[in-house]
């Protein structure tokens, strides 16, 4: 418990010490609420979508790497590009909604 408190004091995003994937899932919504109530500036959702957008762009980067220097996309790559762009739009929508209300 002392370890947990020490870490909580050092890092407000700390939600547990048991390194089991998903162990903090239930607490995430509470965490989001806490941040919103305390700060009210930015929600966890906007941060999540920022990462999601960066990761989607990274997938696009990989398509460039796979198809350089002619960039002749096959149907699978075209489909993937569409999905990436769609994902980016969704993420940007969320970010816009969350940050510029």
């Amino acid at each position: 418990m002392a370890e947990w408190l020490r870490r909580w004091a050092a890092d407000p995003l700390y939600v547990g010490s048991i390194p089991t994937p998903g162990s903090n899932v239930l607490k995430r919504s509470n965490l989001c609420l806490v941040i919103t109530e305390v700060g009210g500036i930015m929600t966890e959702k906007a941060v999540e979508e920022t990462f999601a957008a960066l990761f989607a762009l990274t997938d696009l980067r990989q398509i460039f790497r796979d198809t350089k220097p002619t960039y002749q996309f096959n149907s699978e790559q075209r489909e993937k590009i569409k999905q990436i762009i769609e994902k980016l739009r969704q993420s940007l929508d969320v970010i816009e909604k969350e940050l510029i209300k």
């Binding site: 890092d11 390194p19 960066l54 990274t58 350089k68 220097p69």
Partner: protein
């Protein structure tokens, strides 16, 4: 956007060009590793969940501890550690086994960092000569050991040998050399900087006591990163923990491993390696296709009159040394841009990574290129040759 910030340009050559640089090919990141760098770039990012016993390879979130176990299994050894580059792997082993004045057997194509690791502890390197095909053999290794024994009155303390060398990308008789090492009871380190992460490696089957790999050369990881793996027999020696006690404070740091300087590869490099690992595990099974691709490229390359290949043939590795003295160098001799005409022509065709200005002996690496890119590359070389009147048969 050409600049990331003032004076630092965006590095987009992997998105814009086919890059045949000999040392960069297999270190190109997977998209997963690129994402890891985005998320874990902050300094001590791996330390968020570092709890007792406070050592990097014991951290379970992210699962760094599990990764170490998987890594050892992947290379067929009992224990593995990640290190900041293969060179730190050589250093850890050499520093544990070699003392001042001891001899260490290395290849005549050994990487310079093997020399430095030996020099650092006051040892002396003894090189095994190459045979006529630029390969290190079991026989030459045995002869060198005998020579060292005769001259110094002692057996070498360690044999370090490259699986594939950096100069020709030739395969050396690692199994035979391991056998010789066993016969003389000399520990054997296999330098797998150009093989671990691109082709299946099994240290136990190889007969190695130590394996060293490079993250940034062959494991789709950022620099510096590397791997040192060993057997349970040697782990206590190379991964020994500190016994030091502070004389004033009485402090001791018992869990920290001396050769690893406590924690090794922290932050983004560690997580990027982990993120690439599933992809690396898959891609080693495609090595045969990579070898087919380089051999296809070389067949096309040799259709250009005057071109030669200095590496062993047929190719067993994607890293290859070529000689264009009889072709592109002839053009360079009278061209106002000298050897740079060749770089200019390649760049026009969106190809980079050759040694700029070199038109005699130089190296290339086709690892990771798709078949379309390989064919494009072969065609580009032939197009340049035709443009300058070199015969393509």
């Amino acid at each position: 956007m050409k600049q990331m910030i003032e004076d630092i340009e965006v590095r987009s050559r992997e998105e814009l060009f086919i890059n045949i640089n000999p040392i960069q090919a297999a270190g190109r990141l997977t998209p997963e590793a690129m994402k890891a760098i985005i998320a874990y770039g902050d300094g001590y990012s791996t330390c968020d969940w570092c709890t007792k016993p406070f050592r990097l390879d014991k951290i379970r979130r992210p699962p760094i501890s599990e990764f170490h176990l998987e890594l050892a299994k992947f290379v067929g050894m009992d224990q593995a550690r990640v290190v900041p580059g293969a060179r730190r792997g050589f250093q850890a082993v050499v520093s544990s086994l070699v003392e001042k004045g001891d001899s260490v057997i290395v290849s005549s194509l050994a990487h310079y960092t093997e020399f430095l690791a030996v020099e650092d502890v006051g040892g002396v390197v003894k090189e095994v000569p190459l045979n006529e095909e630029n390969v290190i053999t079991e026989e030459n290794t045995a002869q060198k050991i005998e020579k060292v024994k005769r001259e110094t009155g002692k057996l070498p303390k360690l044999i370090m040998m490259d699986h594939f060398d950096y100069m020709f990308g030739n395969e050396h008789d690692i199994h035979g050399i391991a056998k010789v090492a066993k016969n003389y009871d000399i520990p054997f380190l296999a330098n797998c900087a150009y093989s671990m992460g691109v082709m299946p490696i099994d240290g136990r089957e190889m007969g190695a006591d130590f394996l060293v790999g490079s993250g940034h050369k062959s494991f789709a990881s950022p620099a510096p990163s590397g791997i040192v793996a060993t057997t349970d027999e040697w782990a206590d020696k190379v991964f020994r923990t500190t016994q030091m006690v502070g004389d004033v404070t009485g402090r001791k740091f018992g869990i920290k491993e001396v050769e690893m300087m406590g924690c090794t590869l922290m932050g983004a490099n560690m997580i990027a390696m982990m993120a690439s690992f599933p992809g690396v595990r898959e891609r080693v099974n495609c090595w045969d296709d990579e070898v087919k691709k380089i051999n296809y490229f070389i067949d096309e390359f040799l259709k250009i009159e005057g071109n030669e290949v200095l590496s062993e043939m047929p190719r067993k590795h994607t890293l290859t040394k070529v000689d264009t003295t009889g072709s592109f160098d002839k053009i360079a001799r009278t061209n106002k841009r000298r050897g740079f005409f060749f770089s200019d022509e390649l760049k026009k065709r969106r190809i980079v990574g050759e040694f700029a200005g070199a038109t005699r002996q130089w190296k290339l690496n086709t690892y990771g290129l798709t078949w379309d890119q390989i064919k494009y590359l072969a065609q580009a070389f032939q197009d340049i040759a035709k443009k300058y009147g070199i015969n393509v048969v």
